[in-house]
């Protein structure tokens, strides 16, 4: 029994995809991703401002990036950037890493997110695939305390080495919370 509303919505999506070349391209990339790594690997697929965004689990991230690098059709050879993120309210998914990949040949960008608990912030490194991942991962470690297993030199990079906390986590406010002279009833400073 096919759900008529679902059919309708997919049909609507298809026509939208046919009209918009980016959406069409993204749909192709997504189907390739599914065929390469399995449909269950990805969740929360959406396209904010035309950039295909997928969420996966940290166990798969190394496989996916390596597979995309090797893949002859997509040729995702360029790691544009990666950065950490902290959502303190998402239970057991407090910390995250966001990867931006770019296929310079087809000019397709892809954003991959992974989330993991703050108590266990361990992620496989990508330094064996991309030399450029080295300092990006050190930066993520420096800011968020994400530990990259297999990284050759995981030390702080921008902050001083004897710092004992990870300053970009949301629990550290920018200004000293004990100061009262800066409190403002209306604008929360």
């Amino acid at each position: 029994m096919a759900d008529p509303t679902k059919e309708e919505s997919t049909a609507a999506q298809d026509t939208a995809a046919a009209q918009d070349p980016t959406a069409q391209q993204n749909a192709q990339v997504l189907s390739l991703l599914h065929s390469l790594f399995g449909e269950a690997t990805f969740s929360d697929v959406h396209e904010p401002y035309g950039l295909l965004t997928v969420t996966t689990k940290r166990e798969h991230i190394h496989n996916i990036v390596a597979g995309l690098q090797k893949d002859e059709t997509l040729k995702f050879h360029f790691l544009t950037t990666m950065c950490g993120i902290n959502y303190p309210d998402n239970l057991n998914q407090e910390l995250g890493m966001i990867y931006h990949l770019h296929s310079l040949i087809h000019n397709i960008r892809l954003r991959i997110k992974i989330f993991f608990p703050v108590a266990d912030p361990v992620v496989p490194t990508l330094t064996d695939l991309y030399a450029t991942a080295n300092w990006m991962e050190r930066e993520a470690y420096d800011f968020y305390g994400i530990i990259f297993t297999g990284h050759p030199n995981l030390r702080r990079i921008l902050n001083v080495e004897d710092m004992d906390y990870f300053p970009m986590r949301r629990q550290y406010p920018l200004e000293d919370g004990t100061r009262e002279d800066k409190t403002d009833l209306f604008f929360g400073r």
């Binding site: 966001i98 030399a131 030199n153 001083v160």
Partner: protein, 420 residues
């Protein structure tokens, strides 16, 4: 032969020391028994043109290993940005690559406009292109002329710095400041080009090519200069891509990736220009690519100025674009909007945007996550310097100290962007 034998010996020593220290070699002491010298290049060294350190292990004049230490002017921009409304982040971007601040400013405005869905009128887009290309010229002039200084040629530097001064005068005429420009606003420019600005621009466009030609004649086929830079610090295209190179450094290696062409923003698709590429990715190629890009930037400016459309210089977006000051005093709506924008109480949609522009030295990306609040939830800057400077320690191994200085200079590492 003897040198290579000695080098092989020292490589072995380093390897052993590395194994002993668990893969982390941070040389601190001069090892007299092995005749190795530890040399601190920086943090304050005239040749680094900024505050960052390289601890070099030297065997005589030859570099065996280089360990870069960065972060001396880290100002936590990403953290600060989480507390600031969008318009207050523009001055932070100024201070990243301060040799070409307008590009950073426009890149940030484009990011916010993409998030808000603001359509910028053609005239403002063309004005932005003009300012961005001027900034690119200023950036490349600094890099190339200082590369000359580092090889001992001071004259070219003085010639072109005169022209950079004129570019800064144009900035001053357009936005009121010179180095950290804080130019434009979300939604367009803050004011139209004045007749004086246009006049200065046209005068400069007429006079600059002669100076640039003189500069090129002084360097491009200069025997002394070429001996210092040809085949110094080469990098292959594969390596460069793996290291995340972008901008002139990547193009010097032979990859024609230019954000302006691949993902045109601000009407770059309207202009005709070429992407110069090199072949070896060495210091000379980087120098030549930058020189040629200056000519291409001139082409773009000329086209944009000749075809500058009439019309408004900012978008009709009262929620995001500050009203004129006179209206604020006389007009109720203007006062409300002024207050709301200045206090950062504008509505931003929930979403995430990645927008990149071709900065002075590569793809400058802004990754903005908005949760609908008055400030970004997370703002990540993709700073090209930070990403490609990693390759430096690999590029200098085996070269001499004077080559290391030249390589550093040709990579155009700007400390402000490196550390953010």
């Amino acid at each position: 032969m003897a040198v290579n034998d000695a080098l092989a010996g020292t490589h072995k020593i380093i390897q052993e020391a590395q194994e002993q220290q668990g893969g982390q070699l941070v040389p601190t002491l001069n090892d007299f028994s092995q005749e190795l010298t530890t040399l601190n290049l920086g943090p304050t060294h005239p040749a680094t043109h900024g505050i960052f350190q390289n601890i070099l292990q030297m065997d005589g004049e030859r570099i065996i290993s280089g360990v870069p230490t960065i972060g001396y002017i880290h100002r936590a921009f990403e953290k600060i940005a989480e507390r600031r409304p969008f318009y207050q982040i523009t001055p932070l971007t100024d201070r990243m690559n301060y040799c070409s601040s307008p590009i950073n400013n426009m890149g940030w405005h484009l990011t916010v406009e993409k998030l808000l869905g603001v359509q910028v009128p053609k005239r403002a887009q063309y004005m932005r292109v003009i300012m961005m290309e001027l900034a690119r010229i200023a950036d490349h002039l600094i890099c190339n002329s200082i590369l000359g200084v580092d090889t001992g040629a001071f004259t070219g530097f003085l010639y072109v710095f005169q022209e950079r001064e004129k570019i800064y005068e144009i900035y001053e005429e357009v936005c009121g400041s010179r180095l950290t420009t804080n130019m434009g606003r979300v939604g367009g420019m803050e004011r139209d080009f004045t007749p004086v600005a246009i006049e200065k621009l046209r005068k400069w466009l007429k006079e600059f090519p002669a100076v640039m030609k003189e500069f090129e004649e002084m360097f491009n086929r200069n025997r002394i200069f070429m001996d210092r830079v040809v085949n110094v610090g080469p990098i292959t295209a594969e390596k460069a891509l793996n290291y995340g190179f972008t901008g002139p450094n990547l193009r010097a290696a032979g990859v024609d990736y230019d954000v302006r062409v691949m993902n045109p923003y601000s009407s770059y698709e309207d202009f005709e220009f070429d992407i110069p590429v090199g072949t070896n990715g060495d210091t000379y190629d980087r120098f030549m690519v930058r020189n040629e890009e200056i000519w291409q930037s001139l082409r773009i400016i000329n086209q944009a100025l000749d075809r500058l459309p009439e019309g408004p210089f900012h978008a009709d977006a009262p929620h995001y674009y500050l009203p004129p000051k006179q209206a604020v005093y006389k007009n109720m709506e203007a006062l409300i909007y002024h207050f709301k924008i200045i206090m950062g109480e504008i509505d931003a949609p929930v979403g995430e945007v990645y927008q990149s522009v071709e900065g002075g030295n590569g793809e400058l990306g802004f990754y903005l996550i908005s949760d609908g609040g008055r400030t970004p939830y997370r703002l990540h800057f993709r700073r090209p310097c930070f990403i490609y400077y990693q390759a430096y320690s690999e590029m200098v191994v085996g070269t001499s100290l004077s080559d290391a200085i030249v390589i550093l200079s040709s990579m155009n590492v700007i400390a402000g962007e490196l550390d953010a």
